[in-house]
Symmetry: D2
Subunit: 341 residues, 4 copies
């Protein structure tokens, strides 16, 4: 039984707290730390059987009983906390992205190597039943040689403008999951990116220097081409589809709904909308990812999403950003060179 500490008691900290207590057999949360710790959070923690709540995350790092840390703080804290945790001898599960700054991610990679501790990045979609079904079919050879990969990822509603401003832009905040999916589904690396961006949801997003709609084309080193379409708002809910098409077949996934009930009436044949957003849609994926992180510790095996898997989508995201800015295709090698990678 692994004892873990959670740093950050916001939305995603809650998700992990709940899912560890429900679904992760070999771990318990001992301590949860948050600078804004309050009574409500304390009560919630108590209801889950979490032993300790604190405003000071050092209590987690200093606790010799705690073997692993989940970093659920704000993005700018991901890399410094990762390094501090690793150096304190803890295994680390870090929410995505590790950082917006490649140099800081490089530091984390160095410290992971140096300490030999387990490190996993929170790309939860890899642990979703549907996306996994595509990956399994690809690995089983059912697709043959890959030719075209398609990912649709649309949010039900845009984040606040305040969040947009610190988000690192759509590519590092939202599309980063899709970049990870392209790598996961294909098992290949991205070589070049062309991104077309526009503002079709809210002009304020444009004023904040970001885009809210994008089509991104990616050339992969296995000869396939991937295309992602993103939008920050879809009135029918969270749209999460994907397909991998190859010489032997095409595997496609569609959205999940709360039920598969279909209502036939004078207005049509009506099925339910997709599950509202990521917390609903990926509830089990959040549990599965931490489960596998814990298993990697228990069995001393590699984590399923390592620090390099955290780096690559950031490089792709930076290439996409540059592509929109300079209105041309951008090679990943160009971004790597910039950072001496």
């Amino acid at each position: 039984m692994i004892k873990v500490g959670i740093i950050g008691a916001g939305r995603i900290g809650h998700v992990h707290g709940e899912s560890i207590s429900k679904f992760v057999k070999n771990a318990t949360v001992k301590t949860i730390a948050d600078p804004f710790m309050n009574e409500k959070t304390e009560a919630w923690a108590k209801s889950l059987g979490i032993e300790k709540t604190t405003k000071d995350y050092h209590e987690i790092f200093n606790d010799p009983e705690i073997e692993a840390v989940l970093i659920c703080a704000s993005t700018d804290q991901h890399s410094p906390l990762s390094i501090e945790a690793l150096r304190a001898g803890k295994h680390v599960f870090c929410e995505k992205p590790i950082d917006h700054d490649v140099n800081k991610i490089k530091e984390v990679l160095d410290v992971v190597k140096e300490t030999g501790k387990k490190y996993q990045v929170g790309f939860n979609r890899r642990f979703d039943h549907n996306f996994k079904a595509i990956r399994d079919a690809v690995v089983a050879g059912k697709v043959g040689k890959q030719q075209i990969i398609k990912i649709t990822s649309r949010d039900p509603e845009p984040p606040s403008i305040d969040y947009v401003k610190i988000s690192g832009g759509i590519f590092l905040d939202m599309t980063i999951h899709d970049f990870d999916m392209v790598r996961y589904l294909s098992g290949a690396e991205v070589e070049e990116v062309y991104a077309e961006g526009s503002v079709t949801v809210d002009p304020e997003i444009g004023k904040a220097g970001d885009i809210d709609t994008a089509i991104i084309t990616l050339k992969l080193d296995n000869g396939a081409t991937a295309v992602i379409d993103n939008c920050r708002a879809a009135c029918y809910g969270y749209d999460q589809r994907a397909e991998v098409f190859g010489t032997k077949g095409c595997v496609a996934i569609s959205n999940d709904s709360d039920s598969n009930a279909v209502y036939s009436c004078k207005d049509g044949v009506i099925a339910e909308k997709p599950m509202f957003f990521f917390l609903e849609r990926y509830m089990m994926a959040y549990a599965n990812e931490v489960n596998q992180f814990v298993e990697a510790i228990v069995n001393d095996t590699p984590t399923p999403v390592n620090a390099n898997d955290g780096l690559q989508p950031v490089l792709i995201g930076l290439a996409a950003k540059k592509s929109v800015e300079e209105h041309r295709p951008v090679k990943i090698a160009e971004i790597r060179a910039q950072y001496g990678l």
Copy 2:
């Protein structure tokens, strides 16, 4: 936090043990009792944090800390254990059916009334997201006046012949869930039954005095007609469909699969088979039903499936059995009269 005891550590006892520890916030399993308690079960109980294991269920009845009991023993023990538990002052969740013998069910009903304790019967399908979606639509008035109700219920594989012999027959063992669904989806009572039975799966089932395939037509007191089709074996898996058709529309549900991935290849456009069997398909329903049982205790509200809900499907099942034997429609009133109901 309610402390519960589980009597019976077989398949369904395991299901409830697991799901209470994962999903039921306001309850913990304190003790699990089984006459064949062994090391493996003890280890499993320990892994879930269950305090105590025993061969003697009296330890549960005698434990003043334990407020509620889940009866997961063999069917012939359901009614005596229910009565003993109620008299010991425990709330009772009893697996279906309460008994094959209506007189014994009547005794249980009397003791429930006498003790005023909560009593819930394990008709898990009522707590499934799909079936619930139909019920919600009916209650919301989306179906209008009900006209036709259809239920398809086919198992992936037949039970052993040994089980068939003690099962009480297909109607009390398998169709009983569908009878409950007719009552649940419609909110109406069954008045008359006509059942057509045959042996198409395994002649041994016929030799054991049972049938393995059936079409059952039911007249309801709301003017609608229901039809159930059953088979003990379907090579493509557990087939669980239903629809309610009325003057304003038709709500239909189909099967759930492990993923919604679709593989297009030279052989066709191939989706996954339904989830294998009830343990997979109704995992969350098992959790939901116990959750609501616990909530009924905590809030002192009626249980969602009471003792009468346990009685009615048995009456319908006996009518169906008689219908096959006498090759004619049988009124429920006829069965009730037999038992002075």
Copy 3:
């Protein structure tokens, strides 16, 4: 090139006129006869290149150029016109049912035998792409040993009360198609019928001595059981589904729509309703059936739906009627005995 005459220029006469001119390569309509022939019908006939219109169908029987006759008159005229046409040396395509009276159908069978002319009954659904796909799968052995056959057949709106009164009742008018489908899909004969009927659509239908909703269970001579559910009205349109379930698999068909467009919006994920009614849904089936009738003449092969195929569903329909009246299962043998069959 076969020259045909059509008797009856009502709705179904129009359907056949149009579809022969569009889709039936080896036939042309020379003459159309209707006692109520009017200018509008004459103009329509002219636009299709039909040579002659008349109020007197004898002009068709007396025309030596005309080899085949389509009988599209009212039901009570089907059998006398069939006999007259056959005796005039014409091949006959007769709309369903041949007659409501078994004795009159027997006469037609005798005259078919006596004259050796081709005779086909208008069970159009056999020529529909979806129903044919089930039949093809059954014949190909994909279903294995048949166990359960299900047919849903619901009309978008009830016929007029005047029509109901002369319709012969729901079983001979509407369900007759489903009885034919049971025989067609299974390739087996019906041995026994149990029918449950109710009035849920319009009390006037009940006052007219008919029912508008029915569940019919049929035992087949191949060991399978079939169940049909009927309703004279479904607010979402013409509902035409079927499935054949057996030891090797289950083949199911659903409704056709004008397009497969799906609209995802804040109200749900909305597909189109089924095609409105039989004229829309079975347009191509009407063409196919006449095409095969003409091919049977040209190649001197048996027609795909012969006179006996016209008789059997009537026997089943009479059994169903008796079952409702006497509230018991009725054997087809019982009906046959009544008519010395």
Copy 4:
């Protein structure tokens, strides 16, 4: 009743000949011309009631009874025959593309203007029930402000290498239909194109100077972005999907199959593959387009796909070609400037 002549008795000439005789009420084919006219074609023409066959298309131009001409010859003949036909006073339906050479298309546009005759280009997909359902929803305002348009278009098998060499390249031969669909579905014009091409089907196609797989991103003048994915081969058949996503909803269409039968068996839940290729999939669309061409003549209204609609996709195709060659986004204005448009 309009009399038409068909020039070219190849595959598409046959399609139009058949569909006019079956489905186009107000037209008959009087003459069909083909330099390789042979007995087989003559017999086929006779079976359809086509009066005259000839090797010399001038017989069509010189026939005062013939009001309209369908040009179904090889692509290089489309523009000269169009001009000759228009000057001979005929209305013209011309298969796509008008020409690969923009200057020749310009000449055709001039002659159309000069003669005032009807001119329609054979973009058949506009007349398909599914694509039309999207367009109807867009026009009805159900999509709101358009944001993303997606088109998947994959052929079941590549054309011969000989054909590839004279095809004008994938963009002018295959994607040209998708470019037209982008314009049709959106009602907007394309401003810029970025195309990513690869050879994943057959290296011989690469050697012939073409690509067989492409992702094309298009910026539209209504603010939306469109993305097309193409492949010359898909083992599961002709893949023709599309969606238009906007602020009020998303309308999506999927493939049509010969039947909607679904076979559930031990290998999965198997639906039919899409209809094989364009002749099967768009049979009715070919009939509808000629029907509307004839109606435009009869009612003297504009044709639904005019000469400019023939020009635009060629400009987009040339931009796509340039984009692949120069590996950069290309504005349509750049291509227009090249041709003084």
